[in-house]
């Protein structure tokens, strides 16, 4: 995406066991936000591509046709693919954008409702040629990761509603499928930064992320988050040269009570023995930040 010409945007959404109402909840505002971004003259063309990792297709022919017509009425192309296997978020996203002629790729979680201004705001962030990716502010549970208050620069960008320059995405080979569903955004972000790209947080680009809260005002983890999130942390620590983090985690998990945590530790150890861990990246420790159980400083 450049300042010289109107660009092409492809939004990629990977489904897994959502229902049709969930899909429409995500789809309508996304199409609207793309339509508004198109009206600003910044976009020459745009499309939404949905990939389905569910065991059975979520969309039948009629449902897919309804979505297609809704998008077409607003000048936006639409595609739907049922993968017939669970490729995970990383594999699904890569499949959807492979060979795309887009300038920018927008990765969208299916449990979101984006603000009508969100796409235009993220596209605006890409006007800076050094910015290779930008993410949106999540409401009502804002992500605490830090960003520069003036420039928006940040250590990593969330994959919940993430725009990435296509060339940059392809140069690093897209998402690493070793990170099935969680941690792939952190990994992508750090690899983009290793190549000199800047990541920006755009607080004026809002996206509602369907997070529920416990009585202690903590976000309820999703079904697979406890396992996948921890396994991803192990793998990120390995890939980015932080054996100290791995050792800390091992110590903390020695008395783990949650089966998901015990399973994540066991699976990581098995992968290590089998040599199945992701390839370590050179200079990874320079961009990786594992402080306080997070992937960088927090604002609160």
């Amino acid at each position: 995406m450049s300042t010289e010409r109107a660009g092409v945007l492809l939004a990629a959404v990977v489904l897994h066991d959502q229902n049709l109402a969930d899909v429409w909840r995500m789809f309508r505002p996304l199409v609207r936000a793309m339509e508004l971004a198109g009206r600003s003259g910044e976009l020459a063309d745009s499309a939404v591509s949905i990939g389905d990792c569910s065991a059975e297709p979520i969309l039948d022919a009629k449902a897919a046709d309804d979505l297609r017509r809704h998008a077409a009425d607003r000048g936006i192309d639409f595609g739907y693919r049922w993968f017939n296997e669970n490729l995970g978020h990383s594999g699904g996203c890569n499949e959807l954008v492979t060979g795309a002629r887009a300038d920018a790729l927008l990765f969208v979680n299916p449990d979101t409702y984006c603000a009508p201004t969100a796409v235009a705001q993220l596209l605006a962030a890409l006007r800076d040629p050094w910015v290779v990716a930008a993410d949106a502010r999540q409401v009502p549970c804002e992500h605490p990761k830090d960003f520069h208050p003036i420039t928006g620069e940040q250590g990593w960008a969330s994959g919940c509603f993430l725009i990435v320059r296509r060339t940059a995405f392809e140069e690093i080979g897209g998402f690493d499928t070793a990170f099935f569903t969680y941690g792939n955004d952190v990994d992508l972000s750090w690899r983009l930064r290793l190549r000199g790209g800047k990541l920006r947080h755009v607080p004026r680009a809002a996206v509602f992320h369907d997070k529920r809260l416990t009585a202690r005002a903590e976000v309820v983890p999703t079904r697979t988050e406890l396992y996948q999130g921890l396994l991803a942390r192990f793998m990120l620590a390995h890939r980015y040269g932080h054996p100290d983090v791995i050792d800390d985690l091992r110590r903390q998990l020695a008395a783990a009570e949650l089966p998901a945590h015990r399973q994540a530790l066991a699976d990581f150890e098995s992968m290590a023995v089998a040599g199945a861990l992701p390839v370590q990246v050179e200079g990874g420790a320079e961009v990786a930040d594992f402080r306080d159980g997070d992937y960088g400083p927090r604002r609160f």
Partner: protein, 583 residues
């Protein structure tokens, strides 16, 4: 049945007379339908009208005729009543028609009213009616206790075949083409149904009766009205609107001054993300056309799935209650909730209210709330419209406690939904005399009528602005005054408490007894003071002495300062500041 009522200044007839005085009757016929022994004859003659009595009872008509009054036998329920009356008045102008204690005796009063309009009257003819009020508080209280005492005359006259409320009477007349132009409803705090006087549901000294009266008075102004006494002029029959269908479950009222478009976008985004889409949003803009246009721009950004659920309205002036009440007036949902334009909700907010309404229809539904501190973010050139300073805290995550809520509000405004019927049927609204605490007052009055179903689930986020918000500019005395006022209002009437309150109050009383006992022991010089208490007292005394020492030095420094030149130079500025604070 034949009635022999006399005119009395303390009766509904006097109310009719007062009403009649507002119309020109001289030179025209005044048809008194169901005249009985014609108690209004002299009143009509005094006004210059030509009195004509009409009644079904031939004996009454003959007796009236013997008094030299024109009188006719007519069946007011007959199919040809219009033609019969037309024939009686012939070519005389009809100045007025009286239907006093008549309509409730007819199976089809609409037929009489319709024929009067089309066959008897001209556009200047006034119709004066007097109809018993079946919604008098005495009847309501007794019906609640299983009593319906039919009597020879009065509100429950044995010959009544129709019973009217304020709205049904209004509907009957409008539907027949009669439009109200004046009223002199006849009040009677204690009606003929006020017996037995000592019945707890109606007796003036009974707590139950006082409570029921209060509830009755919330509904409308007719609880103490004995007779509806009203005047109408003929016109086109009104087409009565059928009850609204397809109303959403939840009406959401958002007060906005249009000053936070970014926040509003985020709040609307939260609403778009609801799993239960059966809601409508009424944005009640507290500002001028420019504010309204700004909000409209925000709404128009959204996909029609969301924007079509949003209605915009605006009001000027008044307190923060004004836009709230304006929004309430427009709400058509089963339940109604408020959501400010800078607070958030999770995806199951609407669904949780609905689950509560299904579990306990009619109760106030409460959800829990997290909060966080935020501050405006763009003042220093930052890119964020606001900045969170903290993560989410479980601040409003305890079960609803009425006693605690009578002391302080622990339920943010977007954390309780009330049945819309509370607003439409019992006129529960925001108090527009309150500049603050208005949401607390509304909550308490709602809860004391409906009770609370606490869903014990966090579905809301309250953004606590660290500065810039109006709440921070309100002085402490104003808070305390408003809180006292709210408590006083609640305390001035009997109210309901939910199950469990007795135990709670007993606990509190027991705790207060323990405190009293401890105080007595501490103040008793002969009682032995426990060692740890004595040590704490000694430490406290020492700190108090140190504080007094420091205060003494501060006073000396202030005295020095006041003698200084700079203090005297800045005196006018300080006076100005003090004056501003007072205003």
């Amino acid at each position: 049945m034949r009635y022999e009522f006399e005119y009395s200044d303390a009766s509904a007839y006097a109310a009719v007379r007062r009403l009649m005085a507002g119309f020109e009757l001289a030179g025209g016929v005044v048809l008194d339908l169901g005249a009985g022994n014609s108690p209004m004859a002299d009143v009509v003659r005094e006004s210059g009208g030509e009195y004509v009595a009409v009644d079904l009872d031939a004996t009454a008509v003959a007796a009236t005729a013997e008094r030299g009054i024109e009188s006719h036998v007519v069946d007011l329920g007959g199919d040809d009543v219009g033609a019969r009356l037309r024939k009686i008045v012939a070519d005389r102008r009809v100045a007025a028609v009286l239907a006093l204690d008549v309509l409730e005796h007819l199976v089809d009063p609409a037929a009489l009213l319709g024929q009067l309009r089309t066959e008897v009257v001209d556009p200047r003819t006034v119709l004066l009616i007097s109809v018993p009020n079946v919604t008098h508080a005495d009847l309501g209280g007794k019906l609640l206790a299983g009593r319906w005492d039919v009597t020879p005359t009065g509100l429950l006259d044995v010959t009544h075949v129709r019973f009217f409320t304020g709205p049904t009477l209004h509907g009957l007349l409008r539907g027949a083409g009669w439009h109200e132009v004046a009223r002199q409803d006849f009040p009677l705090r204690e009606s003929d149904q006020h017996f037995p006087d000592s019945h707890p549901a109606i007796g003036g000294g009974a707590l139950l009766a006082r409570y029921l009266r209060n509830v009755r008075d919330l509904a409308d102004e007719f609880g103490g009205v004995n007779q509806f006494v009203r005047a109408y002029l003929p016109g086109p029959p009104a087409v009565l609107e059928p009850p609204a269908t397809g109303a959403p479950f939840l009406s959401i009222v958002m007060r906005s001054q249009g000053t936070k478009p970014d926040s509003m976008i985020e709040v609307l985004t939260c609403l778009g993300g609801q799993t239960d889409a059966d809601w409508e949003l009424i944005i009640s803009v507290h500002g001028d056309a420019e504010c309204l246009a700004g909000v409209r721009e925000v709404v128009d950004l959204f996909d029609e799935e969301v924007s079509s659920r949003i209605r915009l309205t605006s009001v000027l002036g008044g307190t923060r209650s004004k836009p709230a009440n304006h929004g309430l007036d427009l709400a058509v949902g089963e339940y109604v909730v408020f959501l400010d334009d800078d607070d958030f909700v999770t995806a199951d907010w609407v669904a949780t209210f609905r689950a509560g309404a299904r579990r306990a229809p009619g109760s106030v539904i409460r959800v829990w709330c997290a909060d966080r501190d935020v501050e405006p973010g763009d003042a220093d050139g930052g890119i964020a419209p606001y900045r969170p300073l903290t993560g989410l805290r479980p601040t409003f995550t305890l079960p609803f406690d009425l006693v605690q809520h009578l002391y302080e509000n622990r339920t943010p405004v977007h954390c309780f939904a009330v049945p819309c019927a509370l607003v439409t049927e019992l006129a529960t609204r925001w108090n527009d005399e309150l500049v603050i605490c208005e949401d607390w007052d509304f909550l308490l009055r709602s809860v004391l009528l409906c009770g609370v179903t606490d869903m014990r689930k966090v579905t809301a986020v309250y953004n606590r602005w660290s500065n810039g918000a109006s709440v921070h500019t309100i002085p402490t005395w104003s808070w305390s005054t408003c809180r006292e006022w709210v408590r006083h209002q609640i305390d001035s009437r009997p109210f309901l408490m939910p199950p469990g309150s007795v135990g709670r109050l007993a606990e509190l009383y027991e705790a207060s007894l323990r405190v009293t006992e401890l105080e007595a022991r501490l103040n008793d010089p002969t009682a032995a003071v426990p060692a740890e208490v004595a040590a704490e007292l000694a430490r406290t005394r020492q700190r108090a002495e140190l504080a007094e020492h420091a205060a003494h030095h501060l006073r000396l420094r202030v005295a020095d300062l006041e003698r200084s030149t700079s203090w005297r130079i800045t005196a006018p500025l300080r006076r100005l500041t003090r004056r501003r604070h007072r205003t």
